[in-house]
Subunit: 123 residues, 2 copies
Protein backbone atom coordinates (compact mmCIF):
# COMPACT_ATOMS: atom_id res chain seq x y z
CA UNK A 1 0.00 0.00 0.00
CA UNK A 2 1.15 3.52 -0.73
CA UNK A 3 1.52 5.43 2.49
CA UNK A 4 -0.75 8.48 2.25
CA UNK A 5 1.33 11.64 2.05
CA UNK A 6 0.33 15.23 2.54
CA UNK A 7 0.81 17.30 -0.62
CA UNK A 8 1.37 21.03 -0.32
CA UNK A 9 0.01 22.65 -3.47
CA UNK A 10 1.98 25.90 -3.29
CA UNK A 11 5.12 23.89 -2.57
CA UNK A 12 4.53 21.81 -5.69
CA UNK A 13 3.96 24.91 -7.84
CA UNK A 14 7.28 26.25 -6.56
CA UNK A 15 9.10 23.25 -8.03
CA UNK A 16 8.65 24.15 -11.68
CA UNK A 17 8.56 27.17 -13.97
CA UNK A 18 7.61 25.87 -17.42
CA UNK A 19 4.18 26.70 -18.76
CA UNK A 20 1.45 24.58 -20.32
CA UNK A 21 3.03 21.38 -18.98
CA UNK A 22 0.67 19.85 -16.40
CA UNK A 23 2.35 17.91 -13.58
CA UNK A 24 0.54 15.13 -11.77
CA UNK A 25 0.41 15.58 -8.00
CA UNK A 26 -2.14 12.86 -7.20
CA UNK A 27 -4.05 10.05 -8.87
CA UNK A 28 -7.30 8.53 -7.66
CA UNK A 29 -10.11 6.51 -9.18
CA UNK A 30 -8.64 6.78 -12.67
CA UNK A 31 -8.38 10.55 -12.39
CA UNK A 32 -5.36 12.83 -12.22
CA UNK A 33 -4.91 15.95 -10.16
CA UNK A 34 -2.55 18.09 -12.23
CA UNK A 35 -0.93 21.47 -11.66
CA UNK A 36 -0.14 23.79 -14.52
CA UNK A 37 1.31 27.27 -14.98
CA UNK A 38 -0.11 29.17 -17.90
CA UNK A 39 0.42 32.43 -19.73
CA UNK A 40 -0.76 33.29 -23.20
CA UNK A 41 -3.40 31.45 -25.20
CA UNK A 42 -3.75 27.68 -25.64
CA UNK A 43 -5.01 26.09 -28.92
CA UNK A 44 -8.72 25.39 -29.43
CA UNK A 45 -9.59 21.77 -28.67
CA UNK A 46 -12.13 19.46 -27.08
CA UNK A 47 -12.12 16.16 -25.19
CA UNK A 48 -14.71 13.79 -26.62
CA UNK A 49 -14.78 11.44 -23.65
CA UNK A 50 -13.94 13.50 -20.61
CA UNK A 51 -15.04 16.44 -18.57
CA UNK A 52 -12.24 18.67 -17.41
CA UNK A 53 -12.19 20.77 -14.26
CA UNK A 54 -10.07 23.87 -13.76
CA UNK A 55 -9.57 25.34 -10.29
CA UNK A 56 -7.56 28.56 -10.20
CA UNK A 57 -4.90 28.67 -7.51
CA UNK A 58 -3.23 32.00 -8.31
CA UNK A 59 -3.71 34.78 -10.84
CA UNK A 60 -6.43 35.38 -13.40
CA UNK A 61 -7.39 32.68 -15.88
CA UNK A 62 -10.05 32.41 -18.50
CA UNK A 63 -11.77 29.58 -20.29
CA UNK A 64 -12.95 30.64 -23.71
CA UNK A 65 -15.80 28.94 -25.54
CA UNK A 66 -16.86 29.75 -29.08
CA UNK A 67 -19.77 31.81 -27.79
CA UNK A 68 -18.54 33.22 -24.51
CA UNK A 69 -15.68 33.60 -22.07
CA UNK A 70 -15.61 32.65 -18.40
CA UNK A 71 -13.16 34.61 -16.26
CA UNK A 72 -11.83 32.93 -13.14
CA UNK A 73 -9.78 34.16 -10.19
CA UNK A 74 -8.20 32.36 -7.24
CA UNK A 75 -10.59 29.91 -5.59
CA UNK A 76 -12.89 29.75 -8.59
CA UNK A 77 -13.49 26.71 -10.73
CA UNK A 78 -15.25 25.54 -13.86
CA UNK A 79 -16.10 22.18 -15.45
CA UNK A 80 -15.79 21.99 -19.24
CA UNK A 81 -18.37 19.48 -20.55
CA UNK A 82 -17.13 16.66 -22.77
CA UNK A 83 -17.03 17.42 -26.46
CA UNK A 84 -17.21 21.18 -26.02
CA UNK A 85 -14.60 23.19 -27.86
CA UNK A 86 -12.62 25.50 -25.60
CA UNK A 87 -9.29 27.15 -25.10
CA UNK A 88 -7.64 28.52 -22.00
CA UNK A 89 -5.77 31.79 -21.64
CA UNK A 90 -4.10 34.10 -19.15
CA UNK A 91 -2.65 37.56 -19.71
CA UNK A 92 -0.22 37.24 -16.80
CA UNK A 93 1.00 33.94 -15.39
CA UNK A 94 -1.63 31.96 -13.55
CA UNK A 95 -1.47 28.74 -11.55
CA UNK A 96 -4.26 26.25 -12.11
CA UNK A 97 -5.22 22.86 -10.69
CA UNK A 98 -6.79 20.43 -13.17
CA UNK A 99 -8.91 17.41 -12.35
CA UNK A 100 -9.53 14.99 -15.22
CA UNK A 101 -9.22 11.33 -16.24
CA UNK A 102 -5.63 10.07 -16.37
CA UNK A 103 -5.85 9.30 -20.09
CA UNK A 104 -6.66 12.88 -21.09
CA UNK A 105 -4.10 14.59 -23.33
CA UNK A 106 -3.95 18.33 -22.68
CA UNK A 107 -4.49 19.33 -26.30
CA UNK A 108 -7.45 16.96 -26.78
CA UNK A 109 -8.40 16.55 -30.44
CA UNK A 110 -6.10 19.33 -31.66
CA UNK A 111 -3.10 18.35 -33.76
CA UNK A 112 0.03 17.54 -31.77
CA UNK A 113 1.99 20.75 -31.33
CA UNK A 114 4.45 22.47 -29.05
CA UNK A 115 1.55 22.73 -26.59
CA UNK A 116 1.06 18.98 -26.34
CA UNK A 117 2.47 17.93 -22.98
CA UNK A 118 4.20 14.63 -22.30
CA UNK A 119 1.81 12.24 -20.57
CA UNK A 120 2.22 11.10 -17.01
CA UNK A 121 4.73 13.66 -15.78
CA UNK A 122 4.70 13.77 -12.00
CA UNK A 123 6.06 16.23 -9.54
Amino acid sequence: MTVPQAVDIAGKFALFAERWRPKIVAQLNGQDVRLVKVQGVFPWHSHADAEEMFLVWKGRFRVEFRDRVVELGPGQMLVVPRGVEHRTAADAEAEVMIFEPSEVVNTGDAAVSAFTAPAGERI
Copy 2:
Protein backbone atom coordinates in the same frame (compact mmCIF):
# COMPACT_ATOMS: atom_id res chain seq x y z
CA MET B 1 -25.73 20.84 -22.78
CA THR B 2 -25.16 22.38 -19.41
CA VAL B 3 -23.68 25.83 -19.80
CA PRO B 4 -20.36 25.86 -17.93
CA GLN B 5 -20.61 28.09 -14.89
CA ALA B 6 -17.90 29.52 -12.72
CA VAL B 7 -18.11 28.25 -9.14
CA ASP B 8 -16.68 30.36 -6.34
CA ILE B 9 -15.56 27.99 -3.59
CA ALA B 10 -15.58 30.51 -0.71
CA GLY B 11 -19.00 31.71 -1.85
CA LYS B 12 -20.31 28.15 -1.73
CA PHE B 13 -18.90 27.59 1.76
CA ALA B 14 -20.68 30.76 2.87
CA LEU B 15 -24.05 29.23 1.95
CA PHE B 16 -24.16 26.62 4.70
CA ALA B 17 -23.21 26.15 8.34
CA GLU B 18 -23.93 22.51 9.16
CA ARG B 19 -21.02 20.18 9.71
CA TRP B 20 -20.17 16.75 8.31
CA ARG B 21 -22.70 17.14 5.51
CA PRO B 22 -20.82 17.30 2.20
CA LYS B 23 -22.44 19.42 -0.53
CA ILE B 24 -21.83 18.70 -4.18
CA VAL B 25 -20.51 21.70 -6.14
CA ALA B 26 -19.53 19.88 -9.34
CA GLN B 27 -19.72 16.47 -10.96
CA LEU B 28 -17.46 15.13 -13.69
CA ASN B 29 -16.47 11.74 -15.04
CA GLY B 30 -18.46 9.94 -12.34
CA GLN B 31 -16.77 11.91 -9.59
CA ASP B 32 -18.12 14.49 -7.17
CA VAL B 33 -16.47 17.63 -5.93
CA ARG B 34 -17.93 18.14 -2.47
CA LEU B 35 -17.47 20.82 0.18
CA VAL B 36 -17.73 20.02 3.85
CA LYS B 37 -17.36 21.89 7.13
CA VAL B 38 -16.01 19.81 9.95
CA GLN B 39 -15.35 20.10 13.66
CA GLY B 40 -14.83 17.26 16.08
CA VAL B 41 -14.06 13.65 15.20
CA PHE B 42 -15.71 11.51 12.52
CA PRO B 43 -16.28 7.74 12.95
CA TRP B 44 -13.65 5.24 11.76
CA HIS B 45 -14.50 3.81 8.35
CA SER B 46 -13.10 2.78 4.98
CA HIS B 47 -14.23 2.80 1.35
CA ALA B 48 -13.58 -0.59 -0.26
CA ASP B 49 -13.91 0.63 -3.85
CA ALA B 50 -12.82 4.24 -3.88
CA GLU B 51 -9.94 6.52 -3.14
CA GLU B 52 -10.87 9.75 -1.42
CA MET B 53 -9.07 13.04 -1.69
CA PHE B 54 -9.21 15.82 0.89
CA LEU B 55 -8.01 19.32 0.07
CA VAL B 56 -8.10 21.76 2.96
CA TRP B 57 -9.57 25.13 2.14
CA LYS B 58 -9.56 26.79 5.56
CA GLY B 59 -8.46 25.83 9.07
CA ARG B 60 -6.55 22.83 10.35
CA PHE B 61 -7.71 19.32 9.54
CA ARG B 62 -6.30 15.91 10.22
CA VAL B 63 -6.71 12.49 8.70
CA GLU B 64 -6.10 9.77 11.23
CA PHE B 65 -5.04 6.28 10.30
CA ARG B 66 -4.66 3.41 12.78
CA ASP B 67 -0.90 3.85 12.82
CA ARG B 68 -0.38 7.56 12.25
CA VAL B 69 -1.95 10.96 11.81
CA VAL B 70 -1.52 13.39 8.90
CA GLU B 71 -2.05 17.06 9.73
CA LEU B 72 -3.18 19.35 6.93
CA GLY B 73 -3.52 23.11 6.64
CA PRO B 74 -4.95 25.34 3.91
CA GLY B 75 -3.74 24.36 0.45
CA GLN B 76 -2.66 20.91 1.54
CA MET B 77 -4.19 17.66 0.35
CA LEU B 78 -4.11 13.92 0.90
CA VAL B 79 -5.45 10.87 -0.92
CA VAL B 80 -6.78 8.04 1.27
CA PRO B 81 -6.20 4.71 -0.51
CA ARG B 82 -9.16 2.43 -1.01
CA GLY B 83 -9.85 0.00 1.80
CA VAL B 84 -7.76 1.87 4.35
CA GLU B 85 -9.43 2.61 7.64
CA HIS B 86 -9.36 6.27 8.55
CA ARG B 87 -11.19 9.01 10.36
CA THR B 88 -11.10 12.75 9.97
CA ALA B 89 -10.97 15.35 12.71
CA ALA B 90 -10.61 19.05 13.40
CA ASP B 91 -10.27 20.83 16.75
CA ALA B 92 -11.71 24.08 15.39
CA GLU B 93 -13.96 24.34 12.37
CA ALA B 94 -12.26 23.57 9.09
CA GLU B 95 -13.44 23.78 5.48
CA VAL B 96 -12.49 20.92 3.20
CA MET B 97 -12.96 20.06 -0.45
CA ILE B 98 -13.44 16.36 -1.25
CA PHE B 99 -12.97 14.57 -4.58
CA GLU B 100 -14.41 11.08 -4.79
CA PRO B 101 -16.69 8.90 -6.90
CA SER B 102 -20.32 10.03 -6.86
CA GLU B 103 -21.48 6.76 -5.28
CA VAL B 104 -19.33 7.15 -2.17
CA VAL B 105 -21.20 7.44 1.13
CA ASN B 106 -19.34 9.63 3.60
CA THR B 107 -19.34 7.04 6.40
CA GLY B 108 -18.14 4.22 4.12
CA ASP B 109 -18.47 0.80 5.75
CA ALA B 110 -19.36 2.19 9.19
CA ALA B 111 -22.90 1.64 10.48
CA VAL B 112 -25.38 4.31 9.47
CA SER B 113 -25.33 7.00 12.15
CA ALA B 114 -25.97 10.68 12.74
CA PHE B 115 -22.78 11.25 10.71
CA THR B 116 -24.16 9.58 7.59
CA ALA B 117 -24.96 12.36 5.14
CA PRO B 118 -27.84 12.29 2.68
CA ALA B 119 -26.57 11.39 -0.79
CA GLY B 120 -26.52 13.82 -3.66
CA GLU B 121 -27.06 17.07 -1.81
CA ARG B 122 -26.02 19.98 -4.00
CA ILE B 123 -25.32 23.56 -3.26
